[in-house]
């Protein structure tokens, strides 16, 4: 019977996908249970539901300050990485530059390099130059590793871009700048936006690079969480994780709603 065989295949497909989803989401469930369970250690099954860890998190000046710093840095990184990454992708795909392959590899290099080395190198360079560890160094460090993401997603869209579309616009009387803003940019937008979302997440979750560039009075959320875990492991850590997960999700949804990621991805 054809129907039965198909349903068997379908079942296998569902099971495989279910397993993948479980693998991806189970840690989130653990964190959620931990965040809501009243005992100050990981316990299963949970003995109740409480909001005390969330209260602790939101009441802590240290957590709040670091969350604020993380968001500020991430916002700056999104803007910078998007501008640099998209511009670099355009130059590489369009500029007819000599050594395009080499330049592409160079720009993507921070992806290959362990971030901890990038952080160390930045730290040493800043010390040598006598800059210390200013906030902008965090932005620079994060941007360095975020740019390749924007570049990759933008290059992907550019690779199957029919340049006749731009020529058509030019023949209809659009000068180069208008061609760019009215035609090129709207068409590559989905790639640029996807890249900027990656940039946000890379910065907001960034740990190894931040580790070298924060000062004790000015730490990002992942660094604060790490230090907190070293000394007191309780539900506040899980609550903080939940908050940062939800924040990242919120940012993705807001960007999607604002600029219509799905609408532009449709074709």
């Amino acid at each position: 019977m054809r129907g039965r065989r198909a349903s068997l295949g379908q079942r296998a497909y569902l099971v495989a996908n279910g397993a993948i989803l479980f693998f991806l989401l189970a840690p989130l469930a653990v964190v959620a249970v931990f965040a809501l369970n009243p005992t100050p250690f990981i316990q299963f099954p949970p003995v109740g539901v409480t909001t005390r860890w969330f209260e602790k998190f939101f009441a802590s000046a240290e957590f709040m300050g670091s969350l604020r710093l993380s968001l500020e840095v991430a916002a700056a990184v999104v803007v910078l990485a998007t501008l640099i990454g998209a511009a670099a992708a355009l130059a590489l795909a369009r500029g007819g530059l000599p050594g395009t392959r080499f330049l592409t590899a160079l720009f993507l290099a921070p992806l290959m390099l362990p971030a901890i080395l990038t952080g160390l190198a930045l730290f040493q360079a800043l010390q040598l130059a006598g800059f210390g560890r200013p906030t902008w160094a965090l932005v620079v460090g994060h941007t360095l590793v975020a740019v390749p993401y924007v570049m990759r997603t933008t290059l992907a869209v550019l690779s199957d871009f029919d340049r006749r579309i731009e020529e058509a616009a030019a023949s209809l009387g659009a000068p180069p700048l208008r061609v760019f803003f009215e035609v090129t940019l709207p068409i590559i937008r989905p790639g640029v936006i996807a890249g900027s979302i990656f940039a946000f997440i890379v910065s907001f979750d960034q740990f190894p690079i931040s580790l070298f560039l924060v000062t004790p009075s000015r730490e990002t959320l992942p660094v604060v969480l790490f230090n907190y875990m070293k000394f007191d492991l309780d539900g506040a850590i899980a609550a903080a994780s939940m908050v940062s997960i939800l924040l990242a999700l919120a940012v993705v949804i807001v960007i999607d709603r604002l600029v219509g990621l799905r609408a532009t991805m449709r074709f």
């Binding site: 029919d162 006749r164 579309i165 020529e167 058509a168 616009a169 030019a170 023949s171 209809l172 009387g173 659009a174 000068p175 180069p176 208008r178 009215e182 035609v183 709207p186 068409i187 532009t264 449709r266 074709f267």
Partner: protein
Amino acid sequence: MPPPLPTASPASITLERVTKRFPGGVVAVDKIDLIVEPGEFFSLLGPSGCGKTTTLRMIAGFEAADEGRVVVGGRDLTHVPVHHRDMGMVFQSYALFPHRTVAENVAFGLRMRGVARPEMAARVASALAQVKLEGYEARRPAELSGGQQQRVALARAIVIRPPVLLCDEPLGALDRKLRQAMQVELKELQRALGVTLVFVTHDQEEALAMSDRIGVMNSGRLEQVGAPADIYDRPRTRFVAEFIGEINLIEGRVHDGGFIAADGRVLPVSSEKGEGAAALALRPEKLRIVSSGAGVIDGVLSDASFLGDQVLYTVTLADGRRLLVKERNPGTGALRQNGSTLGVRWEPRDAVILRNA
């Protein structure tokens, strides 16, 4: 019927020794001289890589000529950027703006020209009516068929009332039936608008069917420019003779006002001046099959292909060479028998002599 779009008066196009070299030293277009008359439907025809598209792109301004001048409507455009050239352009890939609706696509050129909204709406509606796409204003290109997308591209190009319309294989991506229908429509539209149209194609039937004149290109040069019948009946070079339609070539030489084949046979031609190696070119439909001995050459019928309206016979001569002969389908169902010996003849005026370069 909507009122026809008023157009700018059609412009002539003059190319003077226009040359394009690509990096690596390849000469894509080699000192082309050409004049396209105002309101003419002119086709650039040739195999891929012959330079036809590059020539069109130099007229449009997408490529800069390395040498020579491009003059349109008396204005030297050689160094004028694309967006100031005021030409309509239609591409094989349609090149519609995927993020805009049909109406927005068509309105684009008007917006660039700062046309006021009420006039813009009227002109967009009129252009869409011209290409029979009323009611599709709010659609996106991705929701349209290939033929419909090409109509949008056409509307977008004509709405700006260009004095010159350039088409780069515009029907190349469409299937055969649709392509033929679009050929007729495009031709009608061109006549209605009176616009000068330069049409690039590798499809000889398309060029013959649509054009007022054709320029046949090969290796960056114009081999011959002329009316379709001219090009077909009186090809001037072997390339043109062989590229367009089917043709029989008999090698030999011109001597004493006549043509002597390589085997020494004197073949009927209209009187020809000069001397030297040449080929005799004969279209298959200009040849007639007669009884053995009554023709110019005898041969054996070795193959018959039924083409529908015509039958294509292959006649193998004594020396092994083959002649193609096309006859009208008699409609009786009876084709000539393979293996029969017969004669082939032609009128001297139908024989074209092609001098060796």
